[in-house]
Structure formats: structure tokens, C-alpha cells
């Protein structure tokens, strides 16, 4: 009931078909095709520079305006807008880094979520996120005074306190210690059970393997591995990640 009315249960939440991404200089993503359905929990694997962040940004519609998307990329049956336009979807995206120039308090920062009405603010989610990530005790603090882990918790609480159909998180476990990582996985699994589709870019994927439904492996912008069967862990791919050899030859 918490969800966007126009997702059809049989239709994919994310539908990418021969998706490529061109920066003015080179291809960052090439010919990527996959589908994700309602309630999927997808992890993107790949080394540094494999294109995980770019794929998440493409799905979120948060790309520099000079970049070009080729092929089909439909999110919630709509084509995500590129180049700074407002999206009309319930997609919550959290990037890897975020600058802090305006020194506001945590309270003020949290109040910024759900401002536009596109991502409706949910009081229940918000209260839950605040207590889960123990943000309540930080409310009066300045953003510049937070530690790396505290800042990450505040950002997560802000990004997850909206009613979204698709949650895209880029290395959300960065700077979080054991305890908060476990909290994060719990919150995400709860959202998955509510029907939200979750896509994560992760390096420490062993912690989440028990509830992942889709694995997507990327190398140099190519999709080299895609597994959607439950309970299947991509051993071979992960082991190959530790090697310097090109995986494209093996899988592509």
C-alpha cells in the first residue's frame, strides 16, 4: 500500500536493454541488459572503475548533462530523465560522496527529505530510520562536526525516510562499523519485504549473500555476469575478481 500506484506486478521495475553510456570521451557502460522485478534485492559486483556507480546513476537519472545514454533504460515503466531534469518517479538514490558546504544541523538536513512530493515523506519510515540508525541523539549537531560513520548514518536516514519503489545505494556500508552495517541490512530487507526493489553497489557482499536475489557482475563497463536464481552465489566470478586476468574472456 505504500507504493507507487502504477507499477504493474508483472512488469519489471527496472528494464535495461542494450544500455550503453557515453561520456564525451569513452564508453563507460556497454550493451547492458537486465530486468529487475518488484521486491528484488540486487547487488552489483565489480572492481574499481567497473561501472557500478555509473549504472546506479543511470538508473537514478543523475548524470552529468554531457553524458549520453544509448539503448533502453526504463525504471518503473518510465524512461528516467537525464541532465538535471526533475524525475517523476519514486526512486531514492544515495551517492558515494556528498559535499557539505552549508553547515546545517542534522535536524535541518533530515527535514530536507521528501520536500518535492515526488518522493513522499513517510512519517513511519522516518521515525523508524531515526531510531534504527540512532540519529535522534545527533539531531542538534552540525553536519561538519559529525564523524564519517555518523554522517553516513544521517545520510542513510535521510534517503530511506521516503516512500520509494526503487532504492539505489552506492556503497552504503562505507564508513559503517559492524553494528550499523547489520542495522542497514535489516532495514533494507524490511523494505524488500514491503515490495521495494533494492539495488546496491557493494564490495563486502558476503554479509548480504543470504538475502540477495540478483547478482550483477560488471567489468570495464560490460555485464559479465547476471544471476537471478535464488540461493546461487557467484563463486567463480567473485574469485575471479581477485585476479588480474580479464574476466570478459571467460564470461563475455
Amino acid at each position: 500500500m505504500n507504493h507507487h500506484p502504477n507499477i504493474h506486478p508483472g512488469k519489471p521495475v527496472v528494464h535495461a536493454h542494450q544500455l550503453s553510456l557515453w561520456t564525451a570521451e569513452r564508453w563507460i557502460l556497454e550493451n547492458i541488459s537486465f530486468d529487475l522485478f518488484r521486491g528484488a534485492f540486487c547487488v552489483l559486483l565489480g572492481g574499481n572503475g567497473a561501472g557500478k556507480s555509473s549504472l546506479l546513476r543511470t538508473l537514478a537519472g543523475v548524470l552529468p548533462s554531457s553524458w549520453q545514454v544509448v539503448g533502453r533504460c526504463e525504471v518503473l515503466s518510465e524512461v528516467p530523465c537525464i541532465s538535471g531534469k526533475m524525475r517523476s518517479l519514486g526512486v531514492s538514490w544515495l551517492g558515494q560522496h556528498q559535499e557539505v558546504s552549508e553547515d546545517m544541523t542534522v535536524q535541518e538536513y533530515l527535514s530536507l527529505s521528501g520536500w518535492s512530493g515526488l518522493l513522499p515523506f513517510d512519517t513511519e519510515f522516518s521515525a523508524q530510520c531515526r531510531s534504527d540508525f540512532a540519529v535522534d541523539s545527533l539531531l542538534g549537531d552540525r553536519l561538519s562536526a559529525l564523524s564519517g560513520g555518523q554522517w553516513q548514518r544521517v545520510r542513510l536516514a535521510q534517503a530511506l525516510s521516503v516512500r520509494a519503489n526503487l532504492i539505489l545505494l552506492d556503497e552504503p556500508d562505507a564508513a559503517l562499523d559492524e553494528r550499523w552495517r547489520r542495522v542497514l541490512w535489516r532495514v533494507l530487507v524490511e523494505r524488500k519485504h514491503l515490495g521495494t526493489t533494492v539495488v546496491l553497489a557493494l564490495h563486502r557482499h558476503l554479509e548480504v549473500q543470504s538475502f540477495v536475489s540478483n547478482w550483477i557482475g560488471l567489468e570495464e563497463g560490460r555485464l559479465v555476469f547476471s544471476e537471478g536464481r535464488p540461493g546461487v552465489y557467484p563463486h567463480a566470478f567473485v574469485e575471479r575478481l581477485f585476479l588480474e586476468k580479464s574476466l570478459t574472456r571467460q564470461y563475455g
Binding site: 537519472g61 524525475r87 526512486v91 544515495l94 551517492g95 558546504s101 552549508e102 546545517m104 535536524q107 527535514s111
Partner: protein, 338 residues
């Protein structure tokens, strides 16, 4: 909300004080008026022209302060630069330059007073700031876009530098009489417009200020980077356009009303952030900011009329003189508290 009402009352009192005092009236006249002395009331009835002159001054000061403070806050958030002010993108400089050019090439004005309701001057101010806007957009899109939103400041730097050079050239060509009049204006001083001119200028200034205040939440989102703003539903491209258009109106009208008054747009947003740092002010901070700017300019205008009586110093001198020590004190106090 209570803070807004309190600031409004203070502002109203300041306006009253400013209306009542000036070089032509002594403090006893003011007191007589406040005390309800019939002599005092007679004085004002007999000097309606004097009252009108002051009304124009106070209204323009109010609106200019309101607009510039909002503009300063908007630009600081937009460019993610604490040193930004409404003049940083070069729109005021463009406007000033074109007005000067107009004065130079239209010699029929040489005997008259320039800045009153002369359509040519006003059109020049708007066209100048529009031209600067086009130039800024061109530089932004064509040359330096890859450096992100901060490159707008670089584009503005170019325009400011070019315009100030042009202004110097024009100064050299102006007659001494015109020069003395024009120079005070370029430094920023409230011009004695007619009331009809004020009824056109004041709403425009207030409108541009309101537009910028309306964008405050999007701008606060934008201060975390444009990606974050887009992800939270801000249409960044459209916002930049509307923001710059509002800024264009703001610059053209404030330049018409008072030249380019410095320091208000730069210091007031910082002052607001320091005084009203508490969370409960977060939503109304842009309003408090605008009201504080208006109050500062009303006081600065009063000082410029009263303190150095025969000479009217540029109001920018007093805005700097008033706000710098105040900000310094607030910063010092905050440091001591910490």
C-alpha cells in the same frame, strides 16, 4: 514566527525614526511630533515635500536591503561559496555600465538629474543586466561548464572585470558635473527618485526578493551538490534559469534605485546564520535574512543622511561600517561560547 513579527516591528520603528529625522529637522521637532504637540504636526503638514523625499528614501532603502540580502543568500547557496553576493555574476556591473553608456551618449540629460523616471536609463539598466546574463550563460555553457556550478562565478569575474574597465573609460569621457553625480551612484547611494518611480521600482525589487526566497529549500538541497538536489526532485536546469532571471530583475532595479550597494548581500546572510542559528529558525531563515537586510539598509540610509550632514556619503560605506563589526562580534562571541 515570533522572530519575524519582532523583526517587522523593529523595522517599522526604524522606518518611523528614519522618516522623522534628517538634516532639515532637529531632534526637538521629532520629539514634538511624537509628543503630539500641535506645532510638530503643523511642521509636517507644511513640509509635505520633505516628507515625500524621506518616504522615497526609506522605501527604497527597505526594498533594496530586502532584495540584496535575499540575493546574497541565494547566490551563496547556489554557488556553494560563502564569499558570493548578488553582484558576483556580473549582472549589476553590466547594468551599471550600460546606464553609464546611456548617460555618455545621450547628452540631453547632461543638465538634468539622471536617475529619476527617465525611461532610457531604466531600459538601459534592464538591457545591461540582460546582456550580462546572456554573456554569463554563454561562458557557462560554452567554456567552463565542466567545472560545475562554481564556474558561474568565474564567468561573473570576467564580466565584472570587463565592466569595471569600461566604467573607467566612460568616467574619463564624462563632464565633471556629471561625473560627481554618477560616481556617488556607482558606489551605491539611494537616489532621490520621484514617488511614481518608487511605485514601479519597489514592487519589482520585492518580487525578485520573494522569488529568491521561494527557492530557498531547493537551494539548500543544491548546496549538497547538484546530484543530491536532482535525486531529491529539484529541476536544477529550470531552477538555475528562474534564479538568474530573478537575479537579473533584482540587479537592474537595485542599480536603478541605489547603484551597486556592497556588503549587504555578502554579510547579512552570514549574520543571519550566526544570530538565528537555532533549528527552529531553519524554515523562516530566508525571511529573517531579508528583513535583517532591510533593517540594515534603513539604518545605513539614516546614517548617511544624518551623520555627515552637508555631504551624503554612499550608503555602501555605512552598510560596511555597520555590518563588519557586528559580524565580527557575533563570530567572537560564538567562539567564546564554544
Amino acid at each position: 514566527m515570533r522572530a519575524i513579527i519582532l523583526l517587522c516591528i523593529i523595522l517599522l520603528l526604524l522606518c518611523m525614526l528614519s522618516l522623522l529625522s534628517g538634516p532639515a529637522t532637529s531632534w526637538s521637532d521629532v520629539w514634538n511630533f511624537i509628543a503630539g504637540d500641535s506645532l510638530g504636526a503643523d511642521f509636517w503638514l507644511n513640509n509635505a515635500g520633505l516628507f515625500e523625499l524621506r518616504l522615497v528614501h526609506v522605501t527604497l532603502a527597505l526594498c533594496v536591503g530586502f532584495a540584496l540580502a535575499s540575493g546574497g543568500r541565494a547566490m551563496q547557496l547556489f554557488l556553494q561559496n560563502p564569499l558570493a553576493d548578488p553582484h558576483i555574476v556580473g549582472l549589476s556591473a553590466g547594468s551599471t555600465t550600460l546606464v553609464l553608456l546611456c548617460i555618455l551618449f545621450l547628452p540631453s540629460f547632461s543638465a538634468t538629474y539622471y536617475f529619476d523616471f527617465i525611461p532610457a536609463i531604466w531600459i538601459a539598466a534592464f538591457v545591461g543586466s540582460a546582456l550580462a546574463l546572456v554573456l554569463v550563460q554563454f561562458v557557462f555553457f560554452g567554456v567552463v561548464r565542466r567545472w560545475g556550478i562554481a564556474s558561474l562565478a568565474l564567468a561573473g569575474l570576467l564580466i565584472n572585470a570587463g565592466c569595471s574597465a569600461l566604467m573607467m573609460l566612460i568616467f574619463a569621457r564624462l563632464s565633471p558635473a556629471a561625473l560627481s553625480q554618477v560616481q556617488v551612484w556607482t558606489l551605491g547611494s539611494i537616489q532621490p527618485h520621484s514617488l511614481s518611480a518608487v511605485t514601479l521600482l519597489a514592487p519589482l525589487m520585492l518580487f525578485s526578493g520573494f522569488m529568491l526566497i521561494r527557492f530557498d529549500t531547493s537551494l539548500r538541497l543544491l548546496s549538497f551538490g547538484s546530484d543530491f538536489a536532482i535525486a531529491n526532485g529539484v529541476n536544477v536546469n529550470r531552477m538555475r534559469l528562474v534564479l538568474l532571471l530573478s537575479l537579473m530583475i533584482l540587479c537592474a532595479t537595485t542599480v536603478c534605485a541605489a547603484g551597486s550597494v556592497g556588503f549587504v548581500g555578502l554579510l547579512i546572510p552570514h549574520l543571519t546564520r550566526r544570530i538565528f542559528f537555532h533549528d527552529r529558525f531553519a524554515g523562516i531563515r530566508p525571511w529573517l535574512n531579508a528583513l535583517l537586510g532591510a533593517a540594515l539598509l534603513v539604518v545605513a540610509d539614516l546614517f548617511s543622511r544624518v551623520l555627515t550632514t552637508p555631504i551624503e556619503l554612499p550608503v555602501g560605506v555605512y552598510t560596511a561600517l555597520l555590518s563588519t563589526p557586528f559580524l565580527f562580534l557575533v563570530l567572537l562571541r560564538q567562539r567564546l561560547v564554544q
